[in-house]
Symmetry: C2
Subunit: 791 residues, 2 copies
């Protein structure tokens, strides 16, 4: 615990002013929660001055206001480049109040002016129809972290400081938030930070003791245990504890001076002395009462310093006249008349406490990352083309080809240091091993002999936490950089809810003209459902894209390139795009290649198209459309087509391949959607469509149910059948294999005769032989393993 | 670090035998990964003896075999009731080998006999078509935790020991697994364990240093830091470190004796002396090489003790003859001839090391929880009926009514102690506050004055971690108990992937006759998308049910009760059900009540039905069907109906309400699905259907696209529009409000005249007035707030 020293950090005057600044922020916070009118309390408070619906979270707010006021001081003192992340973002009133006090709010929203009229609007708009949400939402300048869903503040903060050596992110972590899994592992991010080339995160654990209705774990373990825990996580904690504002201001100021000096020393040591041993970075534990300075007791119940302070302490002045008086007393306890002049403007001596211009945390360009965004330099993806003299040549595994492209993206942007690859220990396993020819995994913990591709600085971030990968990448993108997240397809569901929040952020920010667009969040899902040879059923789930397409069409894109050249073209496109979430699904196992680079580029630009070379309808009306989407379904479809072309040569088959899944949606639903005419031209108005799909089959129905020919769509995909078995057997278990596809087609032809019946019988037999063979030999039949397209 | 002592724990003979037992398990593990034949190496190994596809994870296996052998010893010594959880469940060969050695495997699978023929099958079946998966999968006796998706071992273990005072779960935590968020916070579970009435978890951190392709964080921090971290988490770590088997056996045995004695002492102190101060439970850190005893170097690359040992160290004997020799040397290094007799049976002196009967970890009934499952005692839910003299009376909030029922479920089963409520700090906020009249939150950390409903023992488990709530509950259910998880609807996505794994577990176990069925996993999603008055856009996501319905229809159920009586009936049903995941979505805000208990019971039993009292088609053919699913959509639909009945009295309207979402699916797709005839009888074959839905609208299309009248379905639901605004405005933003519903209906009527046109104009105006009103007053118009059903 930091105690008072002889040498005071704050002069009495400065202490008084910082306290006044804090009171101003508290006053504005309470005003936002309650006031409809009478913003400066120029007259006694009346019921009509109070909003009808009282919404907001008071409990966390005064502590965050306290932190913000003190950060302002050290920013000025050390001329820091600092942004603020509010873990418990439900303390929205705090960040709004503070960006208003420092002036950034009114610069962006001139109608919220720095006078009485502006104050009134500031108060009304909060949690009010037509106004702003109650969290540190995108509308609030300086925010890169809304904090609605708790748990990601530290990961975001680390993402922000990677490759930003001058930046410090002050990250307030809620003690409740600290109980979440993602936050609990995020403390370990310090093992992945390079003190020379990255910036610093200053975590401030806000130990206000409570969450919604419970105490917090970290507040109810012994002081010594908490100290051990944080040291065990690799930090050096500094405790600031108490509830007497005067003592607390001095303690906080002194501690902040100390930790900033420590950060500077660590950075100097790394940068000037080349000492990259992992530092024990400083952090702060701020132990102060929840709802500090708010009502102590309401209706006989203790509020300040308990969980009852979490939301709105005086919740019903309309029916409790005494609450109205308590509210007025509370507001007046901040002595607004000492803080604002008659016009409602913050007094000059207080306004001067805030930093200037871009040093203000609400104006720092890192928190509006698109402002700083530079285009990624990209090599010509065509240079990585796989040679495809004829369709069906065997490839080495599509993601392995992509790896060479990504490797060169890393290299071309090595001066800018603005591109990173993230993954939970699977970058090599997912086929991107080529990147390790030019860079390493960034790793600041101990290394030993035999370690491979580990270094203090590197472009690849690998920790066995999908949450961390996602959070780091989001923070990196939000501050204006580029990246790629590679992950097993099944386990990307671990970050479903993080994706949700990011997609919501993109949707809202795209409606805010002052927010500049950022680079897209790119997922590469290799190791997909169909090839879990090592892992089986637990690793089989292609449903992330179902989840993704629930979000606004304007921000989501889904690609399933059928081969390596398409994967290259698609990835190039994704890395150039802005403000989307792009999901790319690709295989890592050796697989046939279909298109030359020229054809692939055209195919990907169109997103969907007929493969003439595989079709035999000669541009006329086919008898059946064989559609496919995804690498394995494409292979099985083409194998099915080749069986039919051999055995049923009269049948006119059209092969349609889908790369860009959103092409299937109506134009009215998604910007990529095909017009109905174009859709009908591909899929006909009335012919059977046998659709082999990578993921759950009903997603195709969901996307196409309004299309003319939908009733004739027959979709095969993953239907939750699987275990460890051979690659081909996985398709058999889910009726997606070539034999089933042929039988399905025959079943849907208007007229069939003897050849069709015979073929069906033969194929049914084949499936039995297949089963017997794999159970005996443990691998697929030679005719499957060695099958080649030959038309 | 534990060092050698004068007094040895193991006699030379016992040490020798335990080592032999370990070698036997290692031998069987390598055999499973590689051998197709020649299981006892009675002749030199040939290529034909090796499987074609070599799949599996060697690295983790020897360490887990080591642990298992030593646990056997202490189970016998102390007569322990113990089960084993394998965090890195990809060490499947280990749990299979050990349950085989102890005899449980052959009892369940007699064809895998304890002789040479059985051994051969044991080896072939592993990771082989028609065989078993490579993880600690449901097929393996003794497993309650597959470990495919890493991170949940500790939460599952704690769930298993709640209310099982005699049980100890030995939980091996992978050092890679420990990097995941869920695992990182799960260490704190010790603050929620009551030493008197719960059992104990013995975590064994398997510090083998590596994950797939990287070292682990915990292996590369300083010893002192790791010690601090674990102590900070509240544990007392005991380190067992080394690679010399002889020293390690003695160290492990001594340490296990110590920790079991500590556990017994803690429990005695709590149970006999009534001392419930939170104990610092012991745990073990086992630091041993990854791939211990396996090949040291292959092709010049160090394998043992590096990440290269993770999967199959000698991966291609077919093309590398020297690998074949190395494999044979490796297998023979375990000296199988000393371990198995000529018939292939484990030698008697070794077999005797395993516990007997149900004490064997593979046979312990807790790991086949359905065996122990007792029906929950349930009060008659009808006794909690809300009085509904006429449709539309205002309720207090549906979940608040349910709270009284749940309270009594808690009380009625207080002797059995087999029901718990789990939630991330929201049980009161979600409306279940009544349970705190009869029980508390279980909390073993410090308490202070002003704390509410916290006690060392209690039926409610609240930690701010959806992962922990889910993991604890799963562990609790898997060991044969009952429970309920209450959560904000949006944030249940946090456990999407955990739900996946549990649903997969249920699917697989329902196909294993020896696995008894367990109680269903019940989600109560209160605080749903339509009522995020405090929280706004980040808290709005009704997509969990989209995710859920991707899993096998045989294990998932989704209910959206429109009022409190329906909620009671549905919950009663869910609490009686077995082996499902039930999702129940309900509101907590005051809302109109529609059905008497009698009507509700009937309606819920049917799952879907016409509300005659709201319809005016008099059982004949309607002009339009107004369908609704969910509490808010039901309210808006009825309000729309009442507008139409007033303004368009000629229009024949049928109101259909859906409680059981799966009724909409075809019978062929879901056991609850309506037949086509029944569906057509409700929704007609050709009339417009205006469907107001709680969640994303396309889910309804996905479920109904094969139905006759699907083309006439017009669905409104949440379309990702929202912020903080009034409750009614939320429906307006998403076109789900009464006015839009009426306008939608008019647009779809075959013929409309002047009255319809006038009404549409009036309603369009209303929407403008609404907007103006809420932006001025901050709450809904009186006619909305005070609207009542009156037909
Ligand atoms: C993942 C998640 N689960 C649950 C909630 C609901 N919730 C909102 S605030 C809160 C308590 C937060 O406590 P803490 O982090 O200590 O913040 P503070 O005390 O500063 O308000 C909870 C549980 C949430 N926002 N996110
Ligand atoms: C959540 C999750 N992410 C990624 C993986 C892929 N994976 C499988 S094993 C493994 C490494 C496990 O390391 P550790 O827990 O240390 O186990 P061990 O060393 O005992 O094999 C990884 C990352 C997974 N199974 N689960
Ligand atoms: Mg708190
Ligand atoms: Mg490991």
């Amino acid at each position: 615990m930091t105690t008072m020293q002889d040498q005071r950090t704050l002069s009495p005057e400065l202490l008084h002013n910082i306290d006044a600044y804090w009171r101003a922020a508290n006053y504005l916070s309470v005003g936002q929660i309650y006031l409809y009118d009478n913003p400066l309390l120029k007259r006694p408070l009346e019921l009509a001055d109070i909003k009808h619906m009282l919404l907001g979270h008071w409990g966390t707010t005064p502590g965050q206001n306290f932190v913000y006021a003190h950060l302002n001081r050290i920013i000025k003192k050390f001329d820091l480049d600092m942004i603020y992340v509010s873990g418990p973002g439900h303390g929205g009133p705090s960040v709004v109040a503070n960006t208003y006090l420092e002036g950034t709010y009114s610069e962006i929203y001139p109608e919220i002016s720095q006078d009485e009229a502006g104050l009134r609007k500031l108060f009304i708009q909060f949690s009010f129809p037509g106004g702003i949400p109650s969290h540190a939402s995108p509308e609030c300048p300086g925010s890169i972290h809304e904090g609605g869903e708790l748990g990601y503040s530290l990961s975001h903060s680390f993402g922000a400081v990677f490759d930003n050596p001058e930046l410090i992110v002050a990250c307030v972590v809620g003690d409740g938030e600290a109980e979440t899994g993602p936050l609990a592992t995020a403390w370990h991010s310090n093992k992945f930070l390079n003190p020379a080339s990255d910036g610093a995160v200053l975590p401030i654990l806000h130990l206000n003791g409570y969450k919604i209705a419970n105490p917090t774990v970290l507040a109810r373990i012994e002081h010594e245990e908490l100290d051990q825990l944080l040291r065990g996580y690799g930090w050096t904690p500094h405790f600031v504890e108490g509830d007497d504002p005067e003592l607390m201001h001095e303690a906080m100021a002194t501690t902040l001076d100390t930790v900033i000096e420590q950060i500077k020393r660590i950075q100097h040591n790394a940068r000037e002395n080349g000492d990259l041993t992992r530092p024990r970075w400083p952090m702060i534990v701020l132990k102060s009462p929840k709802g500090w300075t708010g009502p102590k007791v309401v209706d006989g119940v203790q509020i300040e310093g308990t969980f009852h302070a979490h939301q709105v302490p005086l919740s019903d002045p309309a029916t409790h006249p005494e609450h109205l008086q308590q509210l007025e007393d509370w507001l007046r306890s901040y002595r607004p008349e000492e803080l604002f002049d008659d016009s409602g403007r913050l007094k000059t001596e207080l306004a001067e406490l805030a930093p200037q211009g871009d040093r203000r945390m609400g104006a720092n360009p890192h928190a509006n990352g698109g402002k700083l965004l530079q285009d990624l330099k990209l090599p010509d993806f065509r240079d990585y083309a796989v040679h495809v003299p004829q369709p069906g040549v065997q490839g080495i595994g599509d993601t392995h080809e992509l790896g060479r492209f990504i490797r060169d993206v890393v290299e071309m942007n090595s001066d800018e240091q603005n591109f990173r690859v993230f993954g939970p220990d699977e970058t090599a396993s997912n086929g991107l091993e080529a990147v390790f020819n030019v860079t390493d995994r960034q790793w600041d913990a101990r290394t030993v002999a035999n370690d491979e591709s580990l270094a203090p600085a590197g472009r690849v971030m690998e920790m066995l936490s999908e949450h961390q990968c996602e959070g780091w990448l989001e923070g990196y993108l939000l501050t204006g950089r580029h990246g790629l997240f590679n992950c097993y397809e099944a386990f990307i569901h671990i970050v479903d809810s993080m994706f949700n929040q990011h997609a919501k952020w993109l949707k809202v920010t795209s409606g805010l003209p002052w927010r500049h667009k950022i680079a897209s969040l790119n997922y590469l899902l290799a190791s997909h459902v169909w090839r879990q040879d090592h892992n089986g059923f637990t690793h089989q789930d292609p449903g992330f894209i179902d989840h993704v397409v629930n979000k606004k069409a304007s921000v989501v894109r889904v690609y399933l390139p059928p081969d390596a050249n398409c994967l290259l073209s698609v990835t190039d496109h994704c890395l150039r795009s802005r403000h989307y979430v792009n999901v790319v699904i690709a295989g890592k196992h050796p697989a046939p290649q279909w298109l030359t680079m020229e054809a692939a580029e055209k195919h990907c630009a169109e997103g969907i198209g007929v493969w003439d070379w595989a079709s035999n309808d000669d541009g006329g009306e086919p008898d059946v459309v064989m559609a496919c989407c995804g690498d394995v379904p494409t292979l099985e479809t083409l194998a099915a087509v080749s069986i039919m072309r051999e055995h049923l040569p009269e049948l006119k088959i059209r092969v349609v391949n889908v790369v860009d899944l959103m092409k299937l949606q109506p134009q009215t639903e998604h910007p990529h959607g095909l017009s109905d005419d174009a859709f009908d031209a591909l899929f006909t108005q009335d012919k059977p469509v046998i659709f082999a799909f990578h993921a759950y089959p009903w997603l195709i129905h969901r996307l196409t149910y309004r299309r003319t020919n939908h009733d004739n769509f027959h979709v095969r995909g993953y239907k939750e059948e699987g275990t460890i078995t051979t690659p081909f057997d996985m398709t058999v278990l889910n009726d997606l294999d070539r034999f089933h596809l042929v039988m399905d087609t025959i079943d849907r032809l208007p007229q069939t005769g003897e050849p069709e019946a015979t073929l069906k019988r033969q194929l049914a037999d084949k499936l039995i032989v297949h089963r017997q063979y794999i159970c005996k030999h443990g691998r697929d039949m030679p005719e499957i393993r060695e099958w080649k397209w030959s038309h």
